[in-house]
Symmetry: C2
Amino acid sequence: MNRHFDDELGELKERLLYMASLVESMINYSIKSLVDRKEELVQETYKHESEVNKIQVEIDDRCIKLIALHQPAAADLRLITSAMKINAELERMGDQAVNIAESSVKLLKQPPLKPLIDTPRMAEIVKKMVKDSLDCFVKKDLELAKSVLRTDDEVDDLKDQIFRELLTYMSSDPANISRALELILISRHLERIGDHATNIAEDVIFLVAGTDVRHHLNELEEKK
Amino acid sequence: MNRHFDDELGELKERLLYMASLVESMINYSIKSLVDRKEELVQETYKHESEVNKIQVEIDDRCIKLIALHQPAAADLRLITSAMKINAELERMGDQAVNIAESSVKLLKQPPLKPLIDTPRMAEIVKKMVKDSLDCFVKKDLELAKSVLRTDDEVDDLKDQIFRELLTYMSSDPANISRALELILISRHLERIGDHATNIAEDVIFLVAGTDVRHHLNELEEKK
């Protein structure tokens, strides 16, 4: 691997980390707008989205050029194709944050249904998953990648808990239905962001350990 | 481009088409189980899923090997990286079909809430989107790709219509809530399959026309 290629790989990782930090901010602003009931914060999510979209195109270009110019060997090739996948996952996380922002705008037109505790908690966990999934890629940290996979189960449990609670709200008063539904959808968007982080972590495990866990996580857990 | 490489590209496309046909069947069985109220059909969706998962790993491997062995020029490189993206999109469509199957199992434990007309209609449109998105990739058909993008708007409208109708069911009787919710989630899963097909079509437009429409569809429409 020549020095130049090394530098370019380093830059590529930097850009992915930056993109991830934007996605974390998007989640932050969309949830904060809802919890603090400040619609103006939603604009920050939208601003970050157009930046994320630009970077996605840039990173894809970078990857293609890296492969075309340097014709890297299989291991580096897998690293770069993984970067392309991570790039796509991050952009989709951003889309989910936009969905949350849109739900928030709808909810802020009505009085609050209930104090929001589980939703911001779920958002915190999911933001950490986003950060960890990128960190495990950059540091090739297998243990961190596995921890992302485990956290995803926690997120799923929280989503189910939120669902059950909101179902009770809906059943008790039809006036609650549309707001409760919107909160259920927000928890689904957060869950999906967690799924994207999990996809990244699975890819990292494949990169580092050479085990394709995308459809065989149980096997990996058994080997531990 | 040498003959061997050409053959391998052809095989790659065949495998993607086969994977897409499995995904269409998965959608079919999951919706059919719900409409015909036959839980046993859900098993077909699950069987196809494990096949789809296997093919995903196989196709990814094929792509990496194609790049590593033939070191293709930029245009072919983009074709192969697109194939990798399409591969990921198809696998996620399969996941959504599994989500529908799971919702169907829950719904079949209760009496039907209402005759299902819009849901199977939405499923038909979405299955066509899946087929068309792969066809436009294989045939490099720009017009077909654009039609997939337009159909996505139709799917979104149908999803909104389903949502409004089910909201009415929920408001009129709390006993309807859990079933109506499940049907709303099914329409979201179908919508998401449509989104994945749209992602593929956008990629094809980029491949064929060299225009990145992922975040600029309006521009493309204006140029027409």
